[in-house]
């Protein structure tokens, strides 16, 4: 809200600079977001109420009024705050008896059909109005406050709204059917041309002001063009009313129409001062629009505002704020705020809440008033009291922190993508999960319309984006939630996604040759292995997987005891090509809960072996379809207990070996826990292994 300082000074005295005033307001809850200097040129018009003379600049405060303080949405409202803060008196405008005309009853009639939607409606009639420009000072104040001057009658309604916080409306009575007003719900199918030139469809959820036949204003939101004040207007019906906040908000929302008026009604106006405001406006119309004010007023006030009192313990003020403040200081603040003291004793006080402070209902609300006026800088900075609360569980975070440290230690860089993503991206990676996707009914855009069911699609997109920016390699991970239907349940789970692009597993003198698929798969598998190893998960295996986004061969699920805890594999070629990725890209996705559940247990220590080991090598030439796992299985099944480790150290394919065959070289370590293993013993064990391999797999052993 824009507030010209010179206008404020009409209602309250304060001996301070503008900056000083701004600080006081900000630190008592009315935040001054900006101080603007306007005008100062020769065109600047004189303001009779300003300290400054004609042509001098005016200062405008830009205020942020919190939604609980509709009473501050006016110059008088802020003046009331300023009066409290500076201990000065609020100077109300003097409204003298202005009704000089014929009795009101003979001129119009008002009906309120929906007293809940409109708890109070007042109308006055102004005759012999002469439409013209409003006085310069009024126009200038409106302009400074951000409202465009139109004509004296309209400007006065706006001026009084800014002054008092009560929105008003003026109708040209000649344009009202039968010259009368009905406050009612709109009828289905009714439409109205509003002042902004839009034809509005009305509905029965909306409250309107109608004449004998048709709606002439959307109550509390905007008037209709049909009854607008125009140059020829001579008789005006002046509305000052109070409309239900929720109803006004719903209507404003439905029409997508927010106005100075709806803004105030939505937050709540003080029904008690509706009639005074009408008189204030009528006075100005008499002064500045030549109006003769009909005597009397229509005032339909269905439910007068109930008087509210609040009781609060003195000690509660000190306990909740931590401030050391004396009872007398508390009393002084409440009194300055217009909270009338009704009773006090040693324990507590009771105050009457003024009608303009609908936000004060409970003791805590009163405590806040005391705190903000006393000043929050009086809240002491208490030394922190560290305390472990019974039942506190620190393991949730610690286990995750450990896992995160492993990922970083493995060289992975964390990325972060939005939870909302594009269906087209998901389709590219996995059209099969469409049924499981959680789709937002009202997204901002199609690009962010689905909750991600997997972290892989955006990982791929991220890799593609980096590749497009000429970044040669990336080791990335994302830790985030995925969302999907699991039967009738909406499931939300935490996952880790890893993505590799480029020659990430090679030294810097070896980056040039193209990355081959087995190499890339090997890096990913190695990374996942190291991660599981770090978590002390050793009993895991891989199983073949059919994933629409991954290559058929190098794609597996990761199994712990038969339970799939994740997937890894190489991106399918046509998916890669969408991002112009010519070389293999590896992705993996793992379930965080499963990792934490299976991992991180405390390991029992074992002594390291004291006797030396004997190592024997062998190179096996086998058919290409024999897997490493097959060879391990045979070796393990046939080795002596002294078998300690089997390590594959070379794979070779080529003409020397023959087509459809490959050479796999293993080094096998034997060791006895009971004594030094002799060469002879080791040879016996190793021979047994070689015999078994030869017997069970179609293999030639090259050397041993």
């Amino acid at each position: 809200m824009k507030l010209p300082v010179s206008w404020l000074k009409e209602y309250v005295d304060f001996d301070d600079t503008v900056q000083g005033l701004a600080d006081k307001l900000t630190f008592s809850g009315v935040e001054v977001e900006g101080i603007e200097t306007v005008g100062g040129d020769s065109a600047g018009r004189a303001d009779p109420c300003a300290d400054e003379g004609a042509g001098t600049p005016d200062t405008v405060l830009d205020l942020e009024i919190t939604p609980n303080r509709p009473d501050c949405l006016s110059v008088i409202g802020i003046a009331r705050e300023v009066a409290t803060l500076y201990g000065s008196a609020l100077k109300w405008p003097v409204v003298e008896r202005v009704e000089t005309g014929v009795p009101m009853d003979s001129l119009t009639r008002v009906e309120v059909e929906d007293p809940q939607g409109c708890p109070r409606y007042t109308a006055r009639v102004l005759q012999d109005v002469v439409i013209g420009p409003a006085p310069d000072w009024m126009q200038r104040r409106l302009t400074l406050a951000g409202i465009r001057p139109i004509n004296n009658v309209v400007d006065i309604t706006n001026y009084v709204m800014l002054e008092t916080g009560h929105p008003l409306h003026a109708f040209d009575q000649a344009l009202l059917q039968e010259g009368r007003v009905v406050v009612r719900r709109a009828r289905a199918g009714e439409t109205m041309l509003t002042l902004d030139g839009e034809e509005r469809d009305l509905s029965p959820e909306m409250l309107v002001i109608a004449d004998a036949e048709v709606p002439v204003a959307v109550a509390g939101v905007m008037g209709g063009a049909g009854s607008e004040i125009r140059a020829t207007t001579s008789q005006v019906v002046l509305e000052s009313a109070c409309f239900d906040p929720l109803l006004t908000r719903a209507t404003s929302r439905q029409l997508a129409l927010s106005t100075e008026s709806s803004y105030r009604f939505e937050r709540g106006v003080d029904a008690a001062t509706v009639e005074w405001t009408s008189r204030r406006a009528a006075q100005l119309m008499a002064e500045h629009a030549g109006a003769r004010v009909a005597s009397g007023v229509v005032d339909l006030y269905s439910a007068t505002v109930a008087e509210r009192t609040v009781t609060c313990r003195w000690e509660f003020v000190r306990d909740l704020t931590g401030m050391s403040i004396q009872n007398a200081e508390i009393e002084a603040i409440l009194s300055a705020l217009g909270l009338t003291s009704l009773a006090t004793d040693a324990d507590s006080f009771t105050v009457r809440i003024p009608t303009f402070r609908a936000d004060l209902e409970r003791d805590v609300d009163v405590v806040e008033e005391v705190a903000r006026i006393h000043g929050l800088d009086h809240v002491p900075t208490k030394a922190p009291r560290a305390e472990i609360v019974p039942g506190a569980d620190y393991t949730f975070h610690r286990s995750r922190a450990d896992l995160k440290a492993h990922l970083v230690g493995l060289g992975l860089r964390e990325i972060m993508n939005y939870s909302l993503t594009a269906p087209a991206l998901l389709d590219l990676l996995n059209p099969d999960d469409r049924e499981r996707r959680l789709v937002l009914p009202h997204p901002i855009s199609a690009d962010q319309s689905v909750l991600r069911p997997s972290l892989i699609p955006q990982m791929v997109e991220t890799i593609g984006r980096n590749h497009a920016r000429q970044i040669p390699e990336a080791l990335l991970f994302e830790w985030g939630r995925v969302y999907q239907w699991a039967g009738a349940e909406r499931q939300e789970t935490e996952r880790i996604c890893i993505g590799l692009m480029g020659p990430v597993g090679r030294g810097s003198f070896d980056k040039r040759s193209p990355v081959k698929p087995p190499e890339m798969f090997g890096w990913m598998k190695g990374l996942v292995s190291r991660l599981l190893e770090a978590l002390r998960i050793d009993a895991w295996s891989v199983g073949r997987l059919a994933h629409p986004g991954l290559e058929a061969g190098p794609s597996v699920e990761i199994l712990i005891g038969g339970e799939a805890i994740g997937v890894m594999g190489l991106l399918r070629g046509d998916v890669r090509r969408e991002y112009r990725l010519s070389e293999p890209v590896a992705v993996a996705e793992l379930d965080v809960e499963a990792l934490l559940q299976h991992g991180g247990r405390i390991q029992r220590a074992q002594d390291v072996p004291v006797y030396p080991a004997v190592v024997r090598d062998m190179a096996l030439v086998v058919d290409a379809d024999i897997l490493h796992a097959d060879i391990l299985r045979v070796i393990r099944a046939n080795a002596d207990q002294a078998l300690e480790q089997i390590q594959l150290f070379d794979i070779f394919e080529g003409e020397a070996i023959g087509k459809g065959r490959k050479s796999m070289a293993y080094s096998v370590t034997y060791r006895s826990p009971n004594g030094t293993l002799t060469d002879e013993d080791a040879n016996v064990y190793h021979q047994r292994v070689k015999d078994a391999v030869r017997r069970e797999l179609n293999v030639t052993i090259r050397e041993g």
């Binding site: 630190f27 809850g29 939604p67 303080r69 929720l246 719903a250 909740l320 704020t321 931590g322 805590v364 609300d365 405590v367 806040e368 705190a371 903000r372 929050l376 800088d377 809240v379 002491p380 900075t381 208490k382 922190p384 009291r385 560290a386 305390e387 609360v389 506190a392 569980d393 620190y394 949730f396 975070h397 995160k404 970083v408 493995l410 060289g411 860089r413 964390e414 990325i415 972060m416 993508n417 939005y418 939870s419 909302l420 959680l438 937002l440 009202h442 997204p443 901002i444 962010q448 909750l451 991220t462 984006r465 980096n466 920016r469 970044i471 080791l475 990335l476 939300e492 030294g507 810097s508």
Partner: protein, 339 residues
């Protein structure tokens, strides 16, 4: 006599070691002197010729020789090896790039979140979490947002196909969940992702992160809030960081405050980062509204509590000087490598 022999072997051994010019020669020296059947171990054979009272000193001397010779041998070996690789002191290119893969890095949002968690954990706060898909009750009703409250509007909040469900607009529903399942006292810190129907621009993202703190107990006050946030400010932004409160309004706290930290760049003197105010708005906070306690079954006459919430992206932007919130979600490796 035999003692002299030790000295003699020592002299010869060192001379031959010195003379060795390549690995083979060195190996020959090693075998000759300290292999199992070498001359130095061989000195032990003379032990029987030694007077009983001198045996100990003799043995000690032989062992000393053995170890000092081994050390010299190792040194010589290192020197020869360096020469073998052809690298003399002058041609060994120490300016070649090193070869080791770097450690990774955490996203700045994670770094800040973890830092905050760490600091509050020292005060006894534990991490609590809740789902992104929340109930309207937990996100609004229980937090004193009455029906018709503007924040509940479909134009500000993402609702799901079930109108009782939404993407949480703040981390505060974690407070509700935690209080519903734990009796007081409680101290929790709840980081998480939140969603608002904001059109993305340099400072808005429909998807952002908050961290929420809640402390409920007997006679918890604004002074505790100020004390704990001051501790956080000093730990997170520097030891001379100060904290101030400004009155504000939030539906779920009363009194409500906005929390400013003194600017970490100019230390409160005023600069571009703090728009010359010397202060930076960091958090919204306040004393838990009694209506929230009622909604979760706590007795507002028995307990009070404070709550605060901070936007992580906002703090990241201020702290790291990030010019556009979208940079945080672009995931350019070069950008992320800076943090």
């Amino acid at each position: 006599m035999v003692m002299d022999q030790i000295e003699q072997i020592k002299e010869e051994a060192l001379a031959e070691l010195e003379a060795a010019r390549n690995a083979e020669a060195l190996e020959a020296v090693r075998v000759k002197y300290i292999s199992r059947k070498g001359l130095i171990p061989g000195l032990m054979k003379h032990l029987k010729e030694i007077l009983p009272e001198e045996k100990r000193a003799y043995g000690q001397k032989v062992n000393d020789l053995k170890s000092s010779f081994q050390t010299k041998l190792d040194e010589k070996q290192a020197v020869l090896q360096a020469q073998d690789t052809g690298a003399s002191a002058e041609t060994f290119d120490v300016t070649l790039p090193g070869e080791w893969r770097g450690v990774g890095s955490l996203h700045p949002i994670t770094q800040l979140t973890d830092r905050a968690i760490e600091i509050f954990q020292t005060l006894g706060f534990t991490v609590a979490s809740g789902p992104d898909i929340e109930t309207v009750f937990n996100n609004f009703d229980a937090l004193n947002h009455p029906p018709g409250h503007p924040a509940r509007d479909v134009k500000d909040t993402f609702y799901l196909d079930d109108p009782n469900l939404l993407l949480r607009t703040h981390t505060s529903p974690v407070q509700v969940r935690y209080m519903l399942s734990h009796p007081p006292p409680i101290r929790i810190i709840a980081p998480g992702r939140c969603y608002r129907r904001d059109t993305p621009d340099a400072t808005h993202s429909a998807n952002f992160h908050q961290i929420e703190g809640l402390y409920v107990g007997e006679k918890v006050s604004l002074a505790d809030l100020k004390g704990d946030l001051s501790h956080f400010a000093r730990e997170a932004m520097g030891t001379d960081t100060r904290v101030r409160f400004r009155p504000h309004f939030f539906p779920f706290t009363e009194p409500s405050v906005e929390v400013d930290f003194s600017c970490h760049v100019c230390h409160g003197n005023g600069c571009r980062v703090c728009k010359n105010s010397g202060w930076i708005e960091i958090a919204g906070a306040g004393m838990v509204d009694p209506n929230v306690f009622k909604a979760v079954g706590y007795d507002p006459d028995e307990v009070t509590g404070y709550a605060f919430g901070m936007g992580i992206e906002r703090i990241a932007m201020i702290l790291f000087g990030i010019t556009d919130i979208r940079h945080l979600y672009e995931n350019d490796v070069r950008y992320l490598a800076q943090f």
